[in-house]
Subunit: 420 residues, 2 copies
């Protein structure tokens, strides 16, 4: 398999315009080499074979991006990348989005199929009714059924209605959960991916600095969010900012005891601790970062928390290296925190990389004692020490790359409570 | 049913911290009156009764917000609002987010239940396994099974895995698709909701102006996006900006033939037509708007498109009034466009209001000839005349409110091609 440049080959009958586009500009260059896309597909197919899958149905936009480069805000209507164990992949998406796949993915037009607009948001139809028939019409049903067909049963944009469409329309298929198969293939990054993450980290640093500059008594939260959002898109020089998968979080004052509240016009006051959690993104690769900004003198309990978290985070970073079980990171954290009389119930971090809303995590490795993964070089994590206490909270995080002997942090922001 | 202020009643055993929070600040005031929340629930229950449902399982974050006020970026892990035909609703969400529900929803603590962290992102568990047992333990299974139990089978954040958890754990329940039941209840806005949308429209106007100011030859797309994002959060005075459900879209030049591409660092040039599609949001209510900005003299074909779209949009707005079938709007558009020798395959617009990523549409009424809805006062739509031609495109839209005799547009931006 090689990546193909747009050509003049006739496209699927559904969207004849594709063939006419071949001479137009504004086709994005591929983000990765043909060899890298080929390696990704081969790795996915090896796991498919291992799990007894004759085909895989991919619906997670991050996984579709990983395998094809397709990148657009089109995932609010159903999309499917059909990955057979051999032969061409097929990308099914809404008719009006087929051109977008032509412009951003490496797939040749005959592997991009638009489903008709009349299947969008209809109570008694689902686009996958049409897609199932399109697969049948192309003779792609039987070959795929050499084994089971894997489905991403917990993908955000694959609904039970879409699932039942496939169950009803493809009775020959034995459907099984693929268990984040492609997400797992994403866990170890290539050098090219690491480069994109280092570029994203420059956006992250600029956005965190914009946050710290904007946080002051009298500023409403939404004005702080505005400066972060500006910096996240603006980036720095050639490190241009892509949209982050999650908006900036600014848990403030007493409400910093809960992590996922978004901003309002709540005015910052002297005495507030403001938690800032954000990511810089570049070409869909994310580097998240959290810091806590204190307006005025911190309370004794916040200072104790700062010291405990600093020690715990350092203990975790000191533990990271290729070959170390992930649960040892969690243990290092738990032991260190226990020495300060504290504990944290929620996971300490998660694997990161490509992100689409609503999440920049990969939904695979979580840093917690139940996780059985082992660290490998070029795995990347957001290690987030979020302590949500009663009526206050504190967060410090680092995004890191596992190296053969230790750890690389993507950013170099001071790791303490930031006093203003 | 009345809304309850936070009290000192013991919360669910899972999250004892809730009870301690009662005296803390940073609890958001309810966005709507207790009477309005009550009317919403009663309307939903009337439809449930009509559709033979003894209970409804709500997973769409916009629907949860509509019924409870709960607002946080927590929908990347499973959430469920259980709505029985009588008795208290129960909101299930991740343990760390229970405090957020306490801080933003009107629900009393005993109706907020956090599921344990160990159910998050585990391959062989799903939070709804736990939720199903929690419902059983509370004796909420049998009463709900007086009829069928409705599920939002096409909700973005309800996965097939979650669906199968409920199927397996609640065999007493007869599950049926609720067909966007709550979404339909949202179609006609209250006066209070219209006021939030008018406030959102002020954010929209500021964001569109920021876009037009930033679009110039030599500016990279991401710098334009940065200025839009800043204005979207900053807002204007008390019209503060909430995060929009979709990032700004900037289809540019030849790639304006496809609607959903996001920005890159592509530099704008003399001769580019730049489509801007964005929304202002205020307290989760959205007012979208699209315009096209031309750098330099427009081509003859773009001018013809401008004239055709202007006439078509005017024909649609002249048709809007309470009692008019939605398909007449589509017909008015189609006839007008046909007079210019054009046609548009995709829908002309959709119902709007509350939005969470990835969509600000309500997924109910679409303006197209297949739609059988009839316009009612205080329905609100994004009428989007998006023409994606071969190698270029043009968009103009209006967000509108249906009145008894006609139409109110939320913004008053000049409706022509904007020349710079």
């Amino acid at each position: 398999m090689t990546t193909s440049l747009p050509n003049t080959q006739p496209a699927d009958p559904v969207d004849p315009r594709l063939a006419e586009c071949s001479a137009t500009p504004d086709v994005r260059p591929a983000l990765f080499s043909p060899a890298e896309y080929d390696r990704r597909l081969q790795a996915v197919r090896r796991t498919m074979d291992h799990q007894g899958l004759g085909a895989l149905v991919v619906t997670d936009p991050a996984n579709i991006f990983y395998l094809t480069g397709y990148d657009a805000w089109s995932f609010y209507t159903p999309q499917m990348l059909f990955v057979p164990d051999e032969g061409d992949m097929l990308l099914f998406l809404r008719e009006m989005d087929a051109n977008g796949a032509f412009r951003t993915s490496w797939l040749p037009p005959d592997q991009i199929v638009g489903y008709p607009e009349r299947y969008v948001h209809r109570p008694h139809l689902h686009p996958f009714d049409w897609v199932a028939f399109a697969l049948r019409r192309r003779g792609r049903i039987a070959p795929a059924a050499r084994g089971c067909v894997g489905l991403e049963m917990d993908s955000h944009f694959f609904s039970p209605k879409g699932y039942r469409s496939l169950v009803n329309a493809l009775p020959e298929w034995t459907l099984v959960d693929s268990f984040e198969l492609v997400n797992w293939a994403r866990a170890v990054k290539s050098d090219a991916e690491i480069q994109y993450m280092r570029t994203a980290a420059r956006v992250t640093t600029a956005a965190m600095q914009a946050a710290i500059d904007a946080i002051e008594p009298g500023a409403p939260q939404n004005r702080v969010a505005a400066q972060i959002a500006r910096a996240q898109a603006e980036g720095v020089g050639d490190a241009w900012g892509d949209f982050p998968a999650i908006v900036p979080m600014l848990p403030t004052g007493a409400s910093a005891d809960t992590p996922h509240l978004t901003w309002s016009d709540r005015v910052l006051r002297e005495g507030d601790a403001v938690v800032v959690e954000l990511a810089g993104a570049h070409r869909r690769y994310h580097v998240p970062l959290a810091r806590t900004v204190m307006l005025g003198p911190p309370s004794d309990e916040l200072l104790r928390l700062e010291a405990a978290v600093a020690a715990g985070l350092q203990a975790v970073l000191d533990t990271v290296a290729e070959g170390v079980p992930v649960q040892e990171l969690a243990s290092a954290w738990n032991w260190s925190l226990a020495e300060h009389g504290l504990e944290k119930h929620s996971r300490l971090g998660y694997s990161i990389g490509i992100g689409y809303p609503p999440d920049w995590g990969e939904r695979t490795i979580s840093i917690r004692t139940e996780d059985e993964s082992v660290l490998a070089e070029n795995m990347t994590f957001h290690v987030i020490c979020g302590m949500w206490m009663t009526g206050y909270g504190y967060e410090v995080s680092e995004s890191v790359r596992v190296t053969r002997t230790g750890v690389e942090t993507f950013t170099s922001f001071p790791r303490a409570l930031i006093r203003k």
